[in-house]
Amino acid sequence: MNAFMPLVGVTLRGLLGRRRLALMLLLVALPVALAVLVRIGGGGRNDASGILDTLVIRTVLPLVALVLGTAALGSEIDDGTIVHLLVKPIARRWIIFASAVVAAGLTALLCVPSVILTGLLTSGLGSASVTTTFAFAVAVLVGGTAYTVVFMALSTVTSRALVIGLVYTLIWEGVIAGLLEGTRFLSIRQATLGLAAALGGKRPGSEPLDPVISVAILVVATVGALLIATRQLARFEVRGGD
């Protein structure tokens, strides 16, 4: 597909704005900085799952995915530059696919190294530490993709994707999914933690989702979001004008 690489290029240029990039780097550096402090303070621990669960999967990952996912297409829809991409002889699914690849790729590129550095700095290079870190890295890769694509799809449905995404992350996943057992099936965070646990990154005392269910949730969320976004863009109509 000849148009795919130009679409990837323009989405990447759009997402790598100086301020946004600095904010994202600051976010993913947070757990690493904390791990360094733990290390310097002599508080190295055997299990990094706590810090990876709380700081990365519950906080940094959804925020990075939210900012990048909603900006990948949402900012072009908001400022009207999307029109220049739409009036081209290319299937609109390629625009969605390129945006998803770039946003999810950047989320992974920012969050996975953060997981690895945080995990290894916190609990050293022992085999248990490496297994836990690897488990969380893979879970963040898959869960981050699901988060990003879902937030990107949300931006094709509403211009308030950022706010709705924040409410989903903070209220639904942060509060409701913890209080009501049944709602965990509608939580990307719970599925990501379930996948991490299945790969050897179980946090002591936690009750993660079944691995098969976790993978199913992440796959359904990602594929479903891609289909919704493609359908939305195929039926996209410009706003405003006279």
Binding site: N2, G14, D79, V87, P89, I90
Partner: protein
């Protein structure tokens, strides 16, 4: 400043490769309406366009952008059909091989330079030599000097030209431009008009919207007048212009003796109404030229001094309203 470059299509006819038979109009709207809830933006509009420059004239809010977006496949018609070279415009990306669109909104990716923006368009259009096509388009719109600066630093007129470059890279047979001269200085405006004329002469279909009569007058061979979502008039520019001039006019007149002047005027065949309202004389005429000649003559003959003569319905809005009511 660089000299305007003659575009490839200035001498070459429109590409015949996949051209449909000559009977198929480049653009065809058949009883097209578009509404948003209870608001009707475009109301039962039908027309067909072939090669040449057509001006889409109407006041702000008349439905010009909605019509252009319908033709560009960016809006679904609520009723009727919109065809581009015989193909439905809505949900058919293949039409964009034939169409170039210059939207009214200024937005251009601010982090891309003018050249990069044209190159992006060329690549997405799949033209064989995207770099060459982008360079040519930048030269055509006279943006060479600023072509490597981010468009975020451009003036309104420069962004407008960058958008036109992006719309021209694939040498479309149909070019839709929404208020293309906004923000351009007079020299750029003339240059752009020359370019559009040369494209039309090479067999392209150019449709541009404007709310400024003079712009349309200078460029368009034919015009479509829209008002309140309806097609008020369509056809040759001169005949529409005549309709506009020959419509009933009303003048407010203040003189040394309004009552006697009214009596003198009503006897003139160019005048079909004269009334005194709130101490002012309002005169209606169906012949603008004859009335403006007759008024000073009649006033002088009756020994009346004219203090003020002012048209009351000369706004474009009232002209468009008249054309719709006709």
């Amino acid at each position: 400043m660089t000299e305007p470059i003659a575009p490839a299509w200035a001498s070459a006819p429109a590409p015949p490769s996949d051209a449909p038979p000559a009977v198929v109009p480049a653009l065809q709207l058949d009883h097209v309406s578009r509404w948003y809830g209870n608001v009707v933006a475009v109301n039962d509009v039908s027309f067909a366009l072939g090669a040449g420059v057509t001006g889409l004239l109407g006041p702000n809010g008349a439905g010009k952008s909605t019509l252009l977006h319908l033709m560009a496949g960016l809006l679904r018609p609520s009723a009727g059909s919109v065809l581009v070279r015989g193909r439905a415009a809505w949900r058919d990306p293949a039409i964009y091989r034939d169409i170039g669109l210059v939207p009214e909104k200024e937005a251009v990716h601010p982090y891309l330079s003018g050249y990069e923006f044209a190159l992006l368009n060329a690549r997405l259009q799949g033209v064989p030599d995207p770099e060459g096509a982008a360079r040519r388009a930048i030269e055509i719109v006279d943006l060479v000097d600023a072509s490597h600066r981010p468009t975020g630093t451009y003036s309104k007129g420069m962004r407008q030209r960058a958008k036109i470059a992006g719309a021209l890279v694939h040498e479309p047979t149909v070019l839709l431009l929404d208020e293309p001269f906004n923000g351009m200085d007079p020299r750029q405006r003339l240059h752009m008009m020359d370019l559009l004329r040369s494209m039309a002469a090479a067999g392209r279909t150019i449709l541009f919207s404007s709310h400024i009569l003079e712009e349309v007058e200078r460029l368009a061979d034919s015009i479509l007048v829209v008002h309140a979502g309806r097609l008020a008039a369509a056809g040759d520019y001169r005949s529409i212009r005549r309709l506009m001039t020959d419509r009933p006019h009303t003048f407010r007149v203040r003189s040394s003796d309004d009552r006697r002047l009214a009596a003198a005027l009503i006897a003139d065949p160019a005048v079909f109404g004269a009334e005194l309202l709130d101490g002012r004389l309002a005169v209606s005429t169906s012949d603008y030229a004859a009335f403006t000649h007759a008024l000073p003559r009649l006033a002088a003959g009756a020994g009346i001094t004219l203090h003020e003569v002012a048209p009351t319905n000369d706004s474009l809005e009232s002209v468009f309203s008249y054309l719709v009511r006709r």
